[in-house]
Amino acid sequence: MEKISQSTKKKDHEEKISGRALYVDDHVMEDMLHGRLLRSVKAKARLVDIILPDLPSGYFVVDKNDVTGVNRVHIVLDDTPVYAEDTVEYVGEPILMVVGPEMKEVERILNAIVVVYEEQEPILDMRAAETVFFHYNYAKGDIETAFKEADRVFVETFQTGYQEQAYLETQGIIAYPHNGRMTVRGSMQCPYYVHGAIAKALGCKNQDVQVVQDVTGGGFGGKEAFPSILACQVAVAAQKANKPVKVIFERREDMEFTSKRHPSISTYKVAVKSGEITAMDIEVLFNSGAYTTLSPVVLQRGLICASGVYRIENLRVTGRAVKTNTVPTGAYRGFGAPQTFFAVEMMMDHIATALGVDSLELKERCMVKQGDATSTSGKYHFHVPLPEMVARIDQLADYRAKRKNYQHQTGRYRKGIGLSIFFHGCGFTGSGERDIIKAVAKLRKNADDTVEVLASNTDIGQGLKTTFCKIVADTLGIPYEQVLIENPDTDRVPDSGPTVASRSLMTVGGLLQRAAVRLKQEWKSGEVQVIEERFVEPDFVIPFNLKEFRGDAYPTYSWSVNAIEVEVDILTATTKILGAWGIFDVGVPIDLNIIQGQMQGGLLQGIGYASMEQMDYNDQGIIRNNSFSDYIIPTAVDVPHLVTEILNNPYTHGPYGAKGAGELPLVGAAPAYVEAVENALSVSIHKIPFTPEDTMRVLQEANQ
């Protein structure tokens, strides 16, 4: 283990464990008002009339007419209204906000408002969608010839469902005007995203907006773009009230109406000749919901991962993100990759079964290695440690022997084991880092020789405060306690980009390391010094061209192999998880405890996605699973045997050899789990989540 990997007490441990940490709902300001949103109850309708009751003194309503700037939330394409205009496009779309001093009274007023809708026919099913928000395709090799010359052609379709981030702290924002400026604080991943959105909605100058991140109770992507929407709504209210306004979502409101993982349908057509896979023709469909939010980038990542970790010479990938009258979907840890990795891993498994070979054997034959081309004709520039990871997981889980033993079982309890192989592209997709983000990070040395990290990246639980400070302290050769970091405040920190895409540590941590090297050289004890570093793309990168969908989508990749073992009770259709193993290469861990925590937490979220986290809407477009009673996430008793190991594979261009980490562990759990269930029951499965109800269905079909 490298010295930097040795674990340190986390910077935020003390305030969090003692209950002293203040999250947004813990802040109370003088004269503060409370707001709650009135939301559409129809999936698609024209707003004919809104009839308000008499409002008591001190209470008022905020809507589209109060937006002094542009009534659009700046995200990517800026189509999400701050408040609804003439139509509503999904159940839950915010129409107006009621604001006042007492929440009970705010709720009474909300219930007394009558909205007259002229209903229109909604489109709920993504297969029936008429509007294609985003459409990409790319290809390589000669796909027509490959299919013409194939011995066998396999066609299968895979479906994945919603996944709700289910961070323990719901969304919340406080906005308050003062001295001609607007300050917004709250639970968020990306202060500068919120900053840009507020300036556009209020129609004010950038310098008139200040955004401060409060201690944030989990994000997982759910606090990437969504806080920009809520912040605009609250800032408009605060501007109208000329007082602080706080909005904290209820759990049901948060589950039902905030962005979640895109449901998907992927169809794979695969050519096989002489037992080898020669071509893949892949069509991917993502349900974007009513507005575009982050769908273009989510779809891009999903498509780049569509052929998995396999060398496919002849490849065609087509993808669409379509509009439906459902809640807009968005960022969630993995960002499009868990959907297509599930599909490609299951496809490989099913082809192997049809060819009479074990799934792992087929996968091993086509795994990429260093120097191979990526799906988008970029290059795997660095060592690909998959063979040693497979060997290690086999050792840990006794995968090959169990896999064979578990075939053709009879009796009530049937065991199964499955395995998945996957990567996560580190950092922003394509040229976003170079062309859009252009990250800047700073170190400020104070006169007392303490050093402060100035970056806009947020610690949302993943330990970034600690790892940033460790890098700076070690590079400078000063004690960890001498390096300070606060929650980002846009008045104080430069825009080092959002806290997304497993980029913060690798990219911004790299800038901080460079800044620390320079500061060390220029160090003048007792003086104030500020060092700034800007992002420069590494020169080995083959530039990505989005139009052609070609080049290095990522500079490097984090790698993983998962195995999951289950026992299915065919009487009750329940599945017990006997073990879950994951080997992860995230480069050099900057803190081993933190990385283990990320891997274990991510793997368990992935198992939830695969096995129990079921969310769907009814024929009115209303989400049915909107509470922890109906949307089940794993508890401490669900996967008692969860084992994670770290493989040290330094990345030459990351700080201390670190790569992206946060998203990787979620990406491959689902196919490993479903392969295990297939192994136990000798069936083919094409969907996640695969719940006890699904098991029941499969068992009934097998009996007929």
Binding site: S7, K9, K10, D12, H13, E15, K16, I17, S18, G19, R20, A21, L22, Y23, D25, D26, V28, Q165, A166, Y167, L168, E169, T170, V215, T216, G217, G218, G219, F220, E250, R251, I460, G461, Q462, G463, D591, N593, I594, Q596, G597, M599, Q600, G601, G602, L603, L604, Q605, S627, F628, S629, I633, T635, A636, V637, V639, P640, L642
Partner: protein, 156 residues
Amino acid sequence: MMIEFTLNGQTVESAAKANTRLLDVLRHEFPLTGVKCGCKEGECGACSVILDGKLVNSCMIALGFVAGGNITTIEGYRETERFAVLDKAYAAVSAVQCGFCIPGMILASECILAKNPNPSEGEIRDGISGNLCRCTGYNAIVEAIHIAAREGKGLW
């Protein structure tokens, strides 16, 4: 009518209605913001407090029910020697990520150890199964409670 109870060792009273959620009374009236609100329906455990030696979801308890009772929240518990042991144990394995479940999780840890100073892994997992954590995958928290059991000899 005033409702009297013991809160973190002090006798206190509240004028709130007897059917008010204990969670709201603790957060807004006293104001003990270490008690977190995650769902208000008894599912997540973020608002856990110890009532007469038992771990309860304060969102599911009406104020009237605690009349004469003894409540400990993280604000009281953090002053104890037992907390110091748990604090150190949680820090050693970096079991705190976003932190939102942690005040409840610490009080759940206390209840596990109070019941059995040498709990098995199964007892630990059962004891925190009413406290959801979305960050850690629970391993580090389970390990921290094991460490506290080992290091806190005689305290429980």
